[in-house]
Symmetry: C2
Subunit: 150 residues, 2 copies
DNA sequence: CCGTAACTGTTACGTTTGTAACTAACAACG
DNA sequence: CGTTGTTAGTTACAAACGTAACAGTTACGG
């Protein structure tokens, strides 16, 4: 059922392409944290943020990762049960908790970081260094636009 | 908890950036099909594929959209209930069903296509035409790489 | 102070999802 | 044909999810 509207534009519809690229690359990666550490996708994302951008509260992770607070809340609980993470109520505001990886959690993050780096390098090879860099830059711009209410 | 591994690379970890970009742009768009037609995300994706690449079976949509067959099965059922789509068992293989949009479904697709096109154009404006085109091209390449088992 | 409003994080509940088991149809081989 | 294996699509069940309501804490205005 073709439309009067040119389909060329629509078959390139960005949200769709983004979803598919995200879904496929995520799927290719999830096997690692799932089989080795029994982690869920959201758990890996939370750990990723703690490991790469440092100790922070759940709220900060929500904002930075575009994740819902209940999702983060449950992931934090799961990571805590696995002894990958510990929480410490802030003295300055006792509603918030500072989250940080335990020694064990840090080791897991380091391990997965290696896999992630390999993964990223293979991607860079198949795309070419410049295209890879451009992609990263463009995605960041796109994220910024949308977050400020595009 | 910083690592020995350079974090510059990791904070640009592509699967994460892709997820976030996909999530944000999808969220910005979902309001339209949700409030006007009570459609779920997967229903919109299925309709999108039928509308833009023509009548096809559920299996074909699964492959093209990287969606799980149960997800597609349920979306098709929902779209059928809304009378947006009809199925016709193939004579050549009576396991498969050809899916095609009804008149009503086609109208809905046309309406949402307009919104999508506007959305896409605004995106193109904020990114610039060349960067937008590059992004599309790179994402397609990336999807191709992953689908062939990268 | 006291009451109201706002904010962080958790929990209850209904919906959506994925895994696995299933039905029905085809295909290949004796 | 009949048996075995494969494929398209559905369904049952448990896990994960989002919405909304919640508890505890802070901020502010009288």
């Amino acid at each position: 059922m073709t439309q009067d509207t040119p389909n060329a534009l629509l078959s390139d519809f960005l949200p769709f392409l983004l979803f598919q690229a995200a879904e496929l690359s995520s799927r290719n990666f999830q096997h690692h944290y799932q089989s080795r550490y029994g982690m869920l996708r959201t758990e890996w994302r939370v750990m990723f943020h703690l490991g790469s951008t440092g100790d922070q509260t759940a709220k900060q992770i929500c904002n930075r990762a575009s994740l819902h607070k209940t999702k983060v809340s449950r992931a934090v609980k799961a990571l805590e049960n696995k002894r990958f993470l510990k929480r410490e109520t802030l003295d300055t505001d006792r509603r918030s908790e500072q989250l940080c990886l335990t020694k064990r959690g840090t080791a897991v993050f380091a391990d997965l970081t290696h896999v992630a780096t390999d993964f990223d390098q293979r991607l860079e090879q198949s795309l070419g260094a410049r295209e890879h860099a451009n992609l990263v830059e463009t995605l960041r711009k796109l994220i910024a636009v949308h977050q400020s209410g595009g």
